[in-house]
Structures are given as structure tokens and as C-alpha cells.
Symmetry: C2
Subunit: 239 residues, 2 copies
């Protein structure tokens, strides 16, 4: 409790109040205390939610903890947001908003590449975000990027069933890559990866291929493999 204790303001400063603690400028050391750190807004709530998620993951995000970070009651949040699920939807869309939409130059392929690399990077920067993917991606930021994605495909000459296939393919690929990448990034403990590898190679007769060719192999980074996979897909889509 850092806020001042409520005190009755009935008695005028006539009584022998030792130290004159009733004078405004002398009260509580005189530090001109802001009544409230800042007015609570939806934006501040979202920022705090993302910060909390980045710091402690989605498991530990609580309306109460979030409120504590904002120095308000948990119930105060419900004035600005209807419930926790909605807040999570907004936070996820907010993260996707960090993805820069490229200048729509004459090269749809390059623009697509940039968009999708940024998309995955944004989700991996907030590795809790893929696990929030349980509901349809219909936020404004997501839609804007999906719009750009499909527009580039159209510009590249795709249409009809080809266009629909390519759109799904690319969206599924980024989401899946973000999902899988995030699971490894979440347990940032570097020893866990070694343990996973040891677990697999320890069962050589069950997983001969995985243990010899290395499924969780460290020879190539996930970033590198995603780059290569994406290039391969783009090559076939817009040849």
C-alpha cells in the first residue's frame, strides 16, 4: 500500500496539531503525490498485459496481477474490457500489429517474404502468443496483414483455387512455424533441449532416423530452416 491512508478531513487546522501536518504543503513530506499514476485506459491495459505476458508467460497472467501492475483493483479493469478472453484477443492482435507491412513495390515475392519473416519474428518475440491462438484471427491488425498477403498473391497472378490454396498454405506455415518455434523458446532453459536430444538418441531403436539425422539438430538454426522453407514455398507458388 503506497497510497495515503484515508483520513477524516472534518477538523479544521485550529487544534494544536503538532507539526502542522494539516497544512497542504507539509503533508506527507510534501511530495506532490499524483492521485493516480495515470488514468486507466484500454491502451495502458493492453501494454501492461503484453509486458506481463512477456515477463511471466500466459500461465501467470491474472486479472488481479495485471491490476496490481497498474495499481488499480482487478475489478476496475472490467470497466474498460469485457472479460479476460477479450483482453487476450486484443493483446494477440496488438502483437501482430508490430509486424511491419512492406512497401508494396513491384516485387510481390520480396514483399511477401518480408511480411512472413516479420510475422513469425513478432510471434517468437512474444512466445506466449502462439498459445493464444485458440480463436479465429479476426483482429484488425491480423486482417490488414492477411489482406496484404493475399493482395501480393493476386498481384503475382494467382486467382481462383490457386489463390485460395496459396493463401491457406502460407498462413498455415507461418502459424505452425511460430507455434513450434515458440514451444522451444518458452522453456528457455538450454539444458532442456540437450535433455530432449538425449531422450531421443537414448531410444535409438525406436527413433533411428530422428536420432541419426537429428530432428532437434542444432546444426541449423530454426530461423535458417524457416527461411529456406519459405523460399522453397514461394518458388513454387510464383514461378
Amino acid at each position: 500500500m503506497t497510497t495515503e491512508e484515508t483520513r477524516e478531513s472534518g477538523s479544521p487546522p485550529t487544534s494544536a496539531d503538532a507539526g502542522g501536518s494539516d497544512v497542504l504543503w507539509l503533508r506527507e513530506g510534501g511530495e506532490r503525490k499524483q492521485r493516480r499514476a495515470a488514468p486507466l485506459t484500454l491502451e495502458r491495459i493492453i501494454d501492461a498485459a503484453v509486458a506481463e505476458l512477456d515477463a511471466h508467460g500466459s500461465e501467470r497472467l491474472t486479472m488481479r496481477r495485471l491490476a496490481q501492475r497498474l495499481e488499480v483493483t482487478s475489478t476496475a479493469l472490467y470497466w474498460h474490457v469485457s472479460n479476460k478472453d477479450d483482453l487476450l484477443d486484443i493483446a494477440l492482435d496488438h502483437v501482430i500489429g508490430e509486424v511491419r507491412i512492406p512497401e508494396p513495390g513491384p516485387e510481390p515475392r520480396a514483399a511477401l517474404r518480408e511480411l512472413l519473416l516479420g510475422w513469425r519474428a513478432a510471434m517468437l518475440a512474444h512466445p506466449w502468443s502462439p498459445s493464444l491462438l485458440g480463436r479465429p484471427l479476426l483482429g484488425p491488425n491480423v486482417l490488414a496483414r492477411t489482406e496484404f498477403l493475399q493482395a501480393m498473391l493476386v498481384r503475382a497472378g494467382l486467382s481462383g483455387k490457386e489463390l485460395a490454396t496459396a493463401t491457406s498454405l502460407l498462413v498455415d506455415f507461418v502459424i505452425g512455424a511460430a507455434m513450434n518455434g515458440a514451444t522451444w523458446r518458452l522453456l528457455d532453459n538450454p539444458a532442456v533441449l540437450a535433455k530432449a536430444r538425449a531422450h531421443i538418441t537414448g531410444l535409438k531403436e525406436l527413433y533411428p532416423t530422428l536420432s541419426t539425422y537429428g530432428f532437434v539438430d542444432g546444426r541449423w538454426s530454426q530461423d535458417e530452416l524457416f527461411h529456406l522453407g519459405l523460399d522453397q514455398i514461394l518458388d513454387t507458388l510464383m514461378r
Copy 2:
């Protein structure tokens, strides 16, 4: 409460107990009540968990509700399973266990196709499963199928960086497709899809491409688009 109320068994059947309700065979209508429906085992718990998830989704799965379904105390579950997260990991791996591993015929491409179609189908049959994907996929059933996947790629002649890229690409694609597909399947309300479409087409100036070419277009089913995308990927991987 369907179970018999605990009653003191101190008094012998000598008292004038109208109706002889103390005689074993007449007690409670005489239905030879099994003391316990069945011994609680990890397998029964998993089956019940999957059934509960299928019925009500992951939001409503509770240790207490699960226990109720099994007619035990919620705390009894902790004898067989260490905590809820572990149980969810097991349930997810259990679902992947439904995916049939094809006969490793001479055609790696056909086998791969069958495996991946089955993989996505299994997850979509339990649309809560993709949202449980927050942790590394290291269960025995998942590993067995990943092993098969990579083995087929090796048989097709891939190795080194090419092999690693192809493995990631395919895994990311199925996971992403299952994820995205499940989000739509979860809100089975058919009116919601129409509403989503209306939302997008209502913002024609913001999403011109999506609203004219149809992002959530119903002209082709998601199944169809996944088939086509998969074929396209497999074509480029093993040409």
C-alpha cells in the same frame, strides 16, 4: 449423489426395523451395487479427459469435473497423474496416437501424404488439441510419427540441410493447418462464419482483396485446400 448415504452399522437386525431393510438382499432395491465403478487407472483418466474435452472443450476441463465423471474425488486423480499440465500433455499425445502410421511401401510420397492427412484429421477431430500445443511435442506417439515422417524423406533421397528443411516445413504446415482449422471448427455456430464474412466484406475499403477474392470463402473446403497445398509441397520436396 447416487451413492448410498453412510449409515451406522452398529445395531444388529434384531430391532423391529419395518420392512427388514437391514437384510442384505433387500437393501436399496437389492441392486448389487458395485463398490466402485472400476479401479481408477491412468488409462481411464486419459479416456475420460479426452471425452470431457470432446464434449465441452478445453476451457471447461477441470480436475474436479473430470473426477466427477469418474465418480471419484478430484484429489484421487493426483495419485495417478502428477498435475493437470502433465495430464493435458498425455491427452494430446493420446490423440496423435489415433493417427495410423502407413505401411512403409515403396512409395515414400504416398505414405507421407497419408500420414499428414491423418495427422491433421486427428487434430481436427479433437479441435481442442491444437490449443494444447504450448509445450514441446515429445510424447511417444508424436515422436513415432515424426520418426516415420523423416524416415520417408530419407528414403526419398533427402539428406543434410535439405532434409532438415523439409522436416520442419511439413511439421509446421500440419500443425498450422490444424491450428487454424480448429479455430473455425470450435465455434461450430455456422452463423459465426457468415458474420465473419460479413464483417470483412463490410470493410471493403480496408480489405479489398479479402472481400472480393474471399479469404473465408466457402467455394472450396478447408480439406480441399489442405490437400492441394500438401500436394504442392510434396511435389517440390521430392521431385
